[in-house]
Amino acid sequence: MKKKVLSIFLLLVLMTMIFTACGGNEKPATEQPAATGQEQPAEAPAQILKYGTDAEPVGLDPHTISAVASVRIFRQIYNTLIDVDGDMNFIPELAESWEQPDDLTYIFNLRHGVKFHNGREMVADDVKYSFERILNPDTAALGKSYYDSISTIEVVDDYTVKFILKEPFAPFMSNLTSLYGAIVPKEVVEENENLMQVACGTGPFMLQEWVPDNKVILTKNPDYFVEGQPKLDSIEFYVMTDEASRIAALRTGSVHLIKLPASSISLVEGNDDITIMDFQSNDYLFLGFNFDLDKFKDVRVRQAISYAINRQEIIDLVYDGEATVTGLVPPAMGRWAMDYASEDLYQQNIEKAKQLMAEAGYPDGFETTIAVGLLDDIRGAGEILQKQLEQIGIKATIENLESGQYVDAWKNRTHEMMAGRNGAGTDPNRSVAFFYSSTGSANVWGYSNPAVDALCDQGKITVDEAKREEVYKEAQKLLVNDCPNIWIASPMDYYFVRKEMKNFNPSTFDLENFNDVTIE
């Protein structure tokens, strides 16, 4: 026994000696950065994009995963039937063309010769299978409600698929552009039970390797259906949770691309090797109310708050001026958005605010809380809102919530006021009905307005685009006046890019299109 323990001890000592020896040898390398820096380009003449990401993907199944860290990866792997361009027009993707003989029928003609990454051709059966998988409750697909209106899916021939809906559903086309409706091959799903750890799509890049909490490597799909794309040989995603570490890696050229909030811009200013690319996000910053509380049930109080705050001040202080005043449909949504900035309720007017508060029975204001999440901009906005609301006697305490607590408060309506950031989606049905109709899944506030509900129902079945636009504009007017939330600003999104990375043009609805990107 004694001998055994002794030998284990000796083994440990030996191991530590080996490690020390190696460590000692390697130490100079850290002090001679120039040498290592020069080695890298020689090793990698291939077109490799290195992307420093903030989080580990949770899984790669496009039907059941919505985490940003995962979507970032599988959006390179999978395709949808159709896509949307910068002006929110539908453009072909896997479907070459489509027609709509009546309000209930959609016929898609598929591109010929598109191949899955396993080499098999993508045909109409795959489209049918993919949507059946989404609609099957056992899959627990996140986007099931997007496609619930489908009654039958008919395979006309290998390259033609016909959807028949139960009732007219105007958002149907824009919902098809979501990755929740990605087309997946049946045999791969069945072999692996799900698509969490494996990936096989029709997209420009294929999954080569995924090392947990470390890296994901995608390689070029040589059979991609767009001739000459992609130009890169591979994309390597490296998980770097720490912000300072990501900036350091970008500065030295260890990665080509990172995403950071506006507050980090000053850290790389003056560095010629790094470009900052910005574009209008589809998010908006808001202040929400709990409609269980009498004070917030009163529309006069909500309007008073809208009059009391100065949106431009928040934009200047939180976003350095780089954001746009918005309502529930942010400006990135183009023609669907109304002009909010000129609305009377968007002009700061303390007198009017005080008067409304007095009418509502709160001449001296009241005490309340603002729950804020962990994001810098939300916390910053919370503090400014607190100051601005003091002017009309509302004494708000800030509650900083960890993300789990925040989601709990959001769902269970345990907050009083809550500041946050929401994404408006690609269809006005999402921006309006999902958040503000009485039955909307994300209407966590307890807000209910029959007139808004009626417009939401109408917008859902009005297929004519021009009429539909009118319906949603009317709904926006009603909502702005009713203030179920106070919408503040739609911020910009930023990519920090190395000079070696060319032809990258991120935009709201085409975030991470690396198909034309090259590395020089």
Binding site: M15, T16, V58, L142, S145, N214, T252, S403
Partner: protein
Amino acid sequence: MRSYIIRRILMLIPVLIGISLCIFLIMQLIPGDVISGLLGIEENPELRAQYVKKFGLDQPLYKQYLDWITNVVKGDFGTSFRTEKEILPEMMSRFKITFQLTIMAAVISWLIAIPLGIISALKRNTWIDGVVRFVALLGVSVPNFAFATLLILFLSIAFDYYPPVGYVGFFENSKVNMEIMILPAIVLGTIMSGSVMRMTRSSVLEVLRQDFIKTVRAKGASEKVVIFVHALRNGLIPIITLIGMQIGGLLGGTVVTEQIFSIPGLGQMVLTAINQRDYPVVQGCILFIAFIYVMVNLIVDILYTYVDPRISYK
């Protein structure tokens, strides 16, 4: 000796049961749950019900616990709710990385701390002692995340250096692996060395004051023998205790350092799982970490008998 070890190992059982119960209950108590994180804004009652059933969260709590713990006893740690991956193999591969980092950090800290500690004791109250004690105090009081962030920023700005991105295993490519691991090991090692240095200094000082050292000197032993054979060996017990505790702590995950240097160790795994409320992963990892900690302590206790033969366990 053998019966002592067996007794200690048997004592592990109630400890681990207690820990597993605690961590299970704590995970139930913290706000937020795995489904909210998973569904995000798409949550609706129908989807939630699907997931509650899928994860078995509709079972009564005691049953969830019993199911989990019986499987763990059988060696099945289950699969992650979020990634649907098996927990045990991933935990083991993560542990290997953390283990390597710990050993490297420990060796670095001994190389710094023990010689400096001895010098400082011998040159007590001179300027050398002053400098060493000041440095040790820095090591004790600078938090490792601050040191790590400063180090990485300093190297990137001053030398345009950043360690290779993407972790590579030691047996895949030991050169690159060492280059990745050396910085975090230096950070953890220097921070650890502060307290070891102080402990070495006071421990050696204390022994040097004792009568038997006078005897040794009187019989004409050289100063080297006095210090290394007699003083250091006799002063080693508290140092080993401290080092054991530090290693146990490091093996449990060096979360922040791993995060800053993007090392996919056990700490990162636990942190991600806690943020996602991935119950089986958190429970499995914490249980494993507790087990390791207790085992390290046991090894330290056994080491005592070699360092100091007067100690024996009957």
